[in-house]
Symmetry: C2
Amino acid sequence: MTPPPHAASPLYLSAPTVAQWIEQQGIATCLRGLCERLQLDYLRWNEFDKCARVPSHSPWGVIELMPIADAQHYSFKYVNGHPGNTLQGLSTVMAFGVLADMATGAPLLLSELTLTTALRTAAMSALAARTLARPESRVMALIGNGAQSDFQALAFQHLLGIQALRLYDTDPAATCKLVHNLRHSGLELTVCQSTREAVQGADIVTTVTADKCQATILSADMLSPGQHINAVGGDCPGKTELAADVLLNNPVFVEYTPQTRVEGDIQQMPADFPVTELWQVLAGQAPGRCDAQTITVFDSVGFALEDFSALRYLYDSALALGLGERLDLIPALNDPKNLLGCLGAQAFATTQPPVQPALRRAA
Amino acid sequence: MTPPPHAASPLYLSAPTVAQWIEQQGIATCLRGLCERLQLDYLRWNEFDKCARVPSHSPWGVIELMPIADAQHYSFKYVNGHPGNTLQGLSTVMAFGVLADMATGAPLLLSELTLTTALRTAAMSALAARTLARPESRVMALIGNGAQSDFQALAFQHLLGIQALRLYDTDPAATCKLVHNLRHSGLELTVCQSTREAVQGADIVTTVTADKCQATILSADMLSPGQHINAVGGDCPGKTELAADVLLNNPVFVEYTPQTRVEGDIQQMPADFPVTELWQVLAGQAPGRCDAQTITVFDSVGFALEDFSALRYLYDSALALGLGERLDLIPALNDPKNLLGCLGAQAFATTQPPVQPALRRAA
């Protein structure tokens, strides 16, 4: 049987192609589309074959693989985290991923995921905040003004109605970059001199710092009743942002408990520290915030399901818009049982002239 | 600091490019080069950060990720196993992989690994046999004559001096294909009517069958003293080729014990069934065969280290020969802390005209 065209030639979306797609759609539309996909996929949580991501640590950072599958599709993301990279002109986080067909194992899509990870992380934060924060939230503190912070700002503006940001970073140049990037956004921007100052009067506090260390960016004495904490930067063993008292006294929500216990801010807590998985709140199976005084904590680390949603969104959009090109990553065989047959005769040339084989049938 | 050129643009080797490279080098040279790399890497076993591969099973087959790293490099392979694929004109096994830099997490190489997996599996089988089989081995039984069998035949010819093959497959068309492909190889080919017949008089018995079931291709009563069993096809939970008595009465050698206990033929045996890791024999830390009468068993499942060796060999060869092209998989940023900055102004357009932000410094 002849395979359908491109059966094993994945579509390829380069970083420039995805950037172009975002420009064409508008970042607000992309964030909205992603958030919708995330919600739909989180609502069918039990249909997924899940595992914690698979890390490889070194003194410089971490490289991770994040696989997940449902009955139809498989996806994985490759992503690194190397805080020292910016000194060499490289990004701290670089990512790409693959969507594949469960029925055949054929890769359907290879895509850049550096830009897309920033978008999906922000869309996920917004989805969690839409579920957990007070609906009237309008002011957000943004602690850590690096590469991911711009996307958080835009997602909370477009998906939650945040109107004002209170910014702080230990590096004033990072805040300067963020202010510059948001200059036409319509957001009211306030540059603060400390985390404590930035947090004052905020409805939502987003922490998105990058240092790979046990840091205490936020402690309970800085917080006010009713705030929602969106803790994005503590996402690796040995990398935390919240003081234990922030976690101890408030309800904590996570993506996938087995992974967050290792990587999230709750890595500081005992193995039986109570948490609620966000999908349970989305599905109405667990309560979110109790009342307007509750301080809610989303201990976000990034879960493979979010990349699955993003890859499917990219794939559907690319097919609909005719984006990308096919990649000859898999040999196209006339006879799939004859892999060697795709090599020309030259491959078999040896220094000795070939001897005719004595082919005989066993007696 | 300006990053070096191509710092985050991996080299891309397509399936046609790798096929062309094999044709130019000759398959014998490629197999020899791979075998040499495998031996060197297995000899530095303790330098690697290892884990069992990460599978995702479905009713149709399996998709696996196989990561591994040393201090300098990280690699992973994506590979599937879908026995029903050939009915749709697709390969049972398709693969690709990535080599990356541990210091920065940047991907260095994205390569096809379908052809390469066939080569490295055969080179690995030959390395194990060179270590475990009787040196005077000249006749090999080849049970299962599918896509991988051709590569096994050529590896054993070129790396071990095998001169004659005794072939059997339940599908005569598969054997026909193999005989055709090897017609100029100089190998003496004997087509047999059963496994039992094929095994008779063989110095080495290679089993490389593909059905995903608990099969008994080979049982102890078929074997003769001094034979080496190269069991390649039993490589997945629920997929075995050897009867328990083949394993019980003979020394069994494996690649990486934690993975082989789950996937290899020894999945049938108790968790404490004694095995020897091949690297121990290569390093002179454990005995191989006792004497010319010993039946040795290599329970091969394929280990991530082998793809690491293959990817490094491909990468070095491609750089030396100028093969492949650069892939813009990662955004090239002027300022790595400013990911959003790679998007044009169009991305921020909204239906509302942008409002000038009220930028003020906190009191």
